[in-house]
Symmetry: C2
Subunit: 335 residues, 2 copies
C-alpha cells in the first residue's frame, strides 16, 4: 500500500499541452488543500494557476513530496528534468511518479534520496507483497464504481460520491486503486500492478474493517466486458465486497476503447453481470445508480437520455459534471 | 514465457514423505521420456525408482537441468542442499525450482551460474513482461480445463486430454499455466505470478496462432467461484479464447478448499457461468465434458454418480484415473 507525504509541490516539467498535465490538474482539483504550489522548467507553457515555488521554497513551507504531474513522452523521465528532481530530494521532498519507468532506474536520484533520506515512490508499480484474499466479511459499508468500459469516469465518480456522502453528513473515505487516485488520496494501491494471485487480497487490505455507518468509496478499474482487463476488475470486485455498485457509462462509446470488435454491453446486462459476480463475496450487493459521462450530449439530449434511463432502470441517473452525484449519495444513505 | 532445457535430473533433497515429492512424481509420470534419473541426499527415504545419477553423471548423459522436485519446508531452500545445486551448476546444468524463495537469493548459486553459464530458473515467478491482451481471434482450436474449485484435477485432466487427442490422431499441445505444468511441458507461464494487467495478454501468447485442426489443451487455474483467485481464472479464460471447456469437479468437496463459507456451485450453474464469461472472447465456446476426481467414491458409487451426471448434463463424464478421458477427446474431435 502506497503512503504518500502531503502536502505536494506539483512538477510540470516542460509541458506545452494541457492534456499532458491531466494528473496535475486532477490533483489541483481534487486535493486542493494538500497542494502548496507548482514548479516547472522555463520551456513550460502550461500553468495550474497556483503559486510558483521552487523545491527548496516548497520544503520550507512544509511540503512532503514533489509529484511529477505530467506524462513524460514515451513514459520515461527526460534527462533534463533530473536536476530539479535531485534538488527536491536534497531539500528533503519525496518524489512521487506515475511514469512507466521507475525513479530507481536513475542512479542520480537514488544517490540523492540516500543522501537526504527522502523516498522515490513509483505509484504505477507495486513492490509490496499482499496475502491472498480471505473472503472474510468486513464491517462497515462499501460502494464500488464499475464500468461498461475503462476510462469513462469511475475515479471521478468515486471522488464526487465520497464528497457528496461527507456533505450529507456520512463518514466516507475515497479508496484509490489507480495511480492518479493514489496521488489524490495520498494512499492506496495501483491494483493493476499487483501480481494476479493477490489482487483480491490487496483489495481486502485497501478497505479494512470500519465503523458500521462508514462508507468506503472504492475506485473501480477496467470492466468485466474488457478482453484484456476483466480479470483485474473481477479480483477488485471480489476483494472489495461492495454492498453497492455504481455503474459508469459513456453513451458515445459503441465499442470498448481500442477494441473495435467488442461492443459496449446493454446497461441492464452490465448491471446483472456485475451484481451476479459481486454476490460471491457479498450476497446483498445491489446497483444503486448510474453515472454517465454525458460530454457528447447537449443539455436537451442529456435531459431526455437521463429520464429515459431512469424510467428504464428504475435507478438514479447522474452526471458528476452536470448536477453532481447527490441523488446516488442519498440512495446509498436511505437504503 | 519459461523455456526449460530437457532432459531432467530430478533432485529430491532429503525428502522422507512421498507427498512432499509430488512434483518429482508428476514429472516421472508425465514426461518420462525427458527424465534421466534421480538424485538425493543420504537422509532421503523416498525414491522414484529411477536410475541414481549424480549431477556430473547426469550432465555427461546429456541432462539440461536439475529440477528441484520436492517442496522445501517453509518454501525456502535449506542451506545443506546448496552444495549439490552448486555442483549441478558447475556441471553445466540449469537449476529449475518451484519454491517460493528465489534461487537468485543465494549468492553461492548466482556465482556458480555465472561461472558455468548455466541458468537459475524460478518457475513460480515471472519476470517477463507481457503485452495487454488484444482480444484478436487466433487460428487453431483450444480447450481449457476449468473447475468448481482449485486443486481438483485441472492439470491432470489437461495432460490426459492432450495425450488422448494425440492417440486419436489429432495434433495437440499441452499448454502449461502452473509451475509443475511448466516443468512437465518444458515451457509455459505461471499465470498467477503475472501482473494482473497482463494475465489475458500472457494467456494469448501461451497459445499462439496454430494450424486449423490443431488443439491447444490449456491447463486451467483457480475457479470463478473462488473469493481469492477468480480474477486469475477470468483473465486466463479470456486470453485463452477456448472453443471448448472441460469442467473439473470433486464430488467430495462441499465448500471451496480453505474457505468454509464458500459453497461449491451446482455443476450446471458452473457450466453456465464459465460459458457466459468465455463468450466475451469466443462466442462459440461450449462445455464438452466433465472430469471428476472420484477418489472418494467406490466403483459402484462412481458408476452410479457418473451415469446420473451424464443424463443430467447430457455430456461425457470421465475420471482420468478411472477409464481415462477418451470420451471427451472423441467429443472434441467430432464437434
Amino acid at each position: 500500500m502506497h503512503q504518500l507525504r502531503k502536502p505536494y509541490l506539483l512538477f510540470l516539467g516542460d509541458v506545452t499541452l494541457k492534456s499532458d498535465a491531466k494528473t496535475a490538474f486532477g490533483l489541483r482539483d481534487w486535493c486542493a488543500d494538500a497542494v502548496l504550489g507548482e514548479w516547472s522548467l522555463p520551456a513550460a507553457t502550461v500553468s495550474l494557476g497556483l503559486p510558483r515555488l521552487s523545491p527548496q521554497q516548497a520544503a520550507q513551507q512544509g511540503a512532503g513530496s514533489l509529484v511529477v504531474g505530467v506524462a513524460a513522452v514515451g513514459g520515461a523521465l527526460p534527462e533534463h528534468w533530473l536536476a530539479e528532481l535531485e534538488a527536491a530530494l536534497d531539500a528533503g521532498l519525496d518524489i512521487v511518479s506515475g511514469q512507466h519507468s521507475r525513479l530507481s532506474a536513475f542512479p542520480r536520484l537514488v544517490q540523492a534520496a540516500q543522501r537526504s533520506g527522502a523516498r522515490l515512490i513509483d505509484v504505477r508499480h507495486s513492490d509490496q507483497t499482499f496475502p491472498a484474499g480471505s473472503g472474510r466479511k468486513r464491517s462497515g459499508q462499501r460502494v464500488l464504481t464499475v464500468g461498461t468500459d475503462c476510462a469513462l469516469g469511475k475515479k471521478y465518480t468515486a471522488l464526487a460520491l465520497a464528497q457528496a456522502l461527507q456533505k450529507q453528513g456520512a463518514a466516507a473515505t475515497f479508496r484509490a486503486t489507480g495511480q492518479t487516485g493514489v496521488m489524490i488520496a495520498g494512499e492506496g494501491v495501483a491494483i493493476d500492478a499487483v501480481i494476479s494471485d493477490f489482487v483480491a487480497g490487496a483489495a481486502e487490505q485497501l478497505s479494512p474493517d470500519n465503523a458500521p455507518g462508514h462508507w468506503d468509496v472504492i475506485e473501480g478499474q477496467g470492466a468485466l466486458f474488457h478482453p484484456a482487463y476483466a480479470g483485474v476488475t473481477l479480483g477488485l470486485l471480489h476483494g472489495s465486497q461492495p454492498d453497492a455498485l455504481v455503474l459508469c457509462h459513456d453513451p458515445a462509446r459503441q465499442t470498448i476503447e481500442g477494441y473495435p470488435g467488442y461492443p459496449i454491453p446493454d446497461l441492464q446486462v452490465a448491471i446483472d453481470r456485475y451484481v451476479e459476480a459481486g454476490r460471491l463475496t457479498n450476497p446483498a450487493v445491489r446497483c444503486v445508480g448510474i453515472s454517465i459521462n454525458s460530454s457528447s450530449l447537449s443539455d436537451v439530449e442529456w435531459d431526455a437520455y437521463a429520464s429515459r434511463l431512469r424510467s428504464q432502470l428504475q435507478l438514479p441517473v447522474v452526471d458528476p459534471m452536470r448536477g453532481g452525484v447527490d441523488a446516488i449519495a442519498k440512495a446509498l444513505l436511505q437504503a
